[in-house]
């Protein structure tokens, strides 16, 4: 309930509510952006753009269309993909060794400060290859169910059930 009120205040241009939402989601959004742009500085730049865009376009969000977090995710993926396609990016691009969200988590030295760090590293450690692909496409790359099915050459329904199994393991690890 509290989240809904926050979002409403945010849409009414309440800076405090905006800050709370930023604190809640900025790490996640940064992580998703960085999985796409693979460059900390550029990801930081895109992150700011994403939250500024969310503030300016807050009217465009309605709960009917989906979760607020999902809305932010969409803005972030689109902004990151736009960035990757832009000319300036191609010049600045560095080849960092994070092809995958998996590597980002496994090589994350700052994770220990976060809650559930051990659980999540353990989860990633024994995550099946099938789950890695699915999670990468669905949550980080923003593929639709259909696109995912076509890319992995599995039936539409399998995307749903297999993904649920992958995420239920994650929930056990995070105890949510």
């Amino acid at each position: 309930m509290e989240l809904e009120i926050l979002i409403e205040q945010f849409q009414n241009k309440d800076a405090k509510a905006f800050e709370s939402l930023y604190e809640m989601y900025n790490e996640s959004i940064f992580g998703v952006i960085n999985t796409i742009v693979k460059n900390d500085d550029i990801a930081a730049e895109v992150l700011q753009d994403v939250f500024i865009k969310a503030w300016n376009k807050s009217d465009a969000y309605t709960a009917k269309k989906g979760r607020f977090f999902t809305w932010l995710l969409n803005i972030a993926r689109n902004a990151a993909i736009d960035k990757v396609r832009s000319k300036s990016f191609k010049n600045a691009q560095q080849n960092q060794d994070i092809d995958f969200f998996v590597h980002s988590i496994e090589s994350n030295d700052n994770l220990e400060q976060k809650i559930n760090a051990i659980g999540i590293k353990k989860y990633i450690g024994k995550l099946a290859e099938k789950c890695k692909q699915l999670i990468d496409l669905i949550y980080f790359k923003g593929f639709t169910q259909k696109e995912t099915a076509e890319t992995l050459e599995i039936p539409l329904g399998t995307v749903k059930t297999r993904n649920r199994n992958c995420i239920s393991e994650l929930r056990k690890a995070l105890e949510v």
């Binding site: 309440d14 930081a44 503030w55 979760r67 980080f140």
Partner: protein
């Protein structure tokens, strides 16, 4: 669909990812309003995904909110935008016409949007139908290939056709044997035989007539599941007649003559 099945379907995980269509999103939203357990599930999934994605953030320090605030030039107390006082122009006939035009335009726009949504869902349906039809065509094509292969065999010059007539135990039964002597093969068309009772199978025999010596050619195991009722067996014998008997599952050493369903003699001069 009840809420338990709905949760188990995995749709909510895709909902949080933003991987669903607009209609599906609205459907999930409605389910969340209706069932608290669906809503709770979405919140848990979201918490998991927020946790997972946040774990990929490896920065030592995050960008402080103040830097975004600076960019937006928001002050701490900035809670609402200053209301703009509207200037009311004198209404003129011209402005009424303008409004009327705008309303007509807007109505047209709404209508077009509705039409578009309708067409989009029709396209989805047509697409699904097309997939189903493709599958049917594929099926029909492979059936046709099988039928053509069979027809080619039956048309071979040297094939010997032997009609088998119904016998005392089942006068209405009939069958056909097509014997390809050069390939040592017989094709059996068993369309005219009744479905064997449970625990029983048809056994096919090659017969020598003088003296009467039966040789088993084999047992038809999959009679009930076979759709065209055409079977093929090896036959290396100098057969003079063919017979089909009903035998216990697995077949018998020698034919049970009381259960002879059909019998036919090979024409003496092929």
């Amino acid at each position: 669909m009840d809420s338990k099945e709905y949760i188990a379907s995995g749709i909510l995980e895709l909902y949080v990812a933003g991987a669903l269509s607009e209609q599906e999103n609205e459907q999930v939203h409605a389910m969340m309003q209706q069932y608290p357990e669906v809503k709770q599930e979405v919140l848990s999934i979201e918490a998991a995904i927020v946790g997972l994605t946040a774990a990929t953030d490896h920065r030592k320090t995050t960008i402080p909110f103040s830097s975004i605030q600076e960019k937006l030039q928001l002050s701490e107390n900035d809670t609402k935008e200053t209301p703009v006082i509207p200037i009311k122009p004198k209404p003129s006939l011209f402005s009424y016409v303008g409004w009327a035009a705008a309303i007509v335009f807007a109505a047209g726009l709404v209508f077009t949007m509705m039409l578009k949504n309708d067409v989009e869902s029709q396209i989805e349906i047509v697409r699904a139908e097309r997939e189903a039809l493709k599958e049917q065509i594929y099926q029909a094509n492979s059936d046709l290939t099988a039928a053509n292969e069979l027809l080619n065999v039956l048309r071979t010059k040297d094939i010997i056709s032997v009609p088998l007539g119904g016998q005392a135990v089942s006068p209405d039964s009939y069958a056909k044997v097509y014997w390809d002597k050069s390939a040592n093969n017989v094709y059996l068309d068993l369309q005219g035989l009744p479905v064997p009772p449970p625990g029983k199978v048809y056994q096919v025999w090659s017969l020598k007539l003088d003296p009467l010596t039966p040789t088993s050619l084999g047992v038809i195991e999959d009679f009930t599941t076979d759709t065209d009722k055409v079977f093929d067996l090896q036959n290396v014998n100098e057969s003079e007649a063919f017979g089909i008997t009903l035998e216990p599952a697995g077949g018998s050493e020698s034919p049970t003559m009381e259960q002879l369903y059909t019998l036919g003699v090979v024409a003496s001069n092929p």
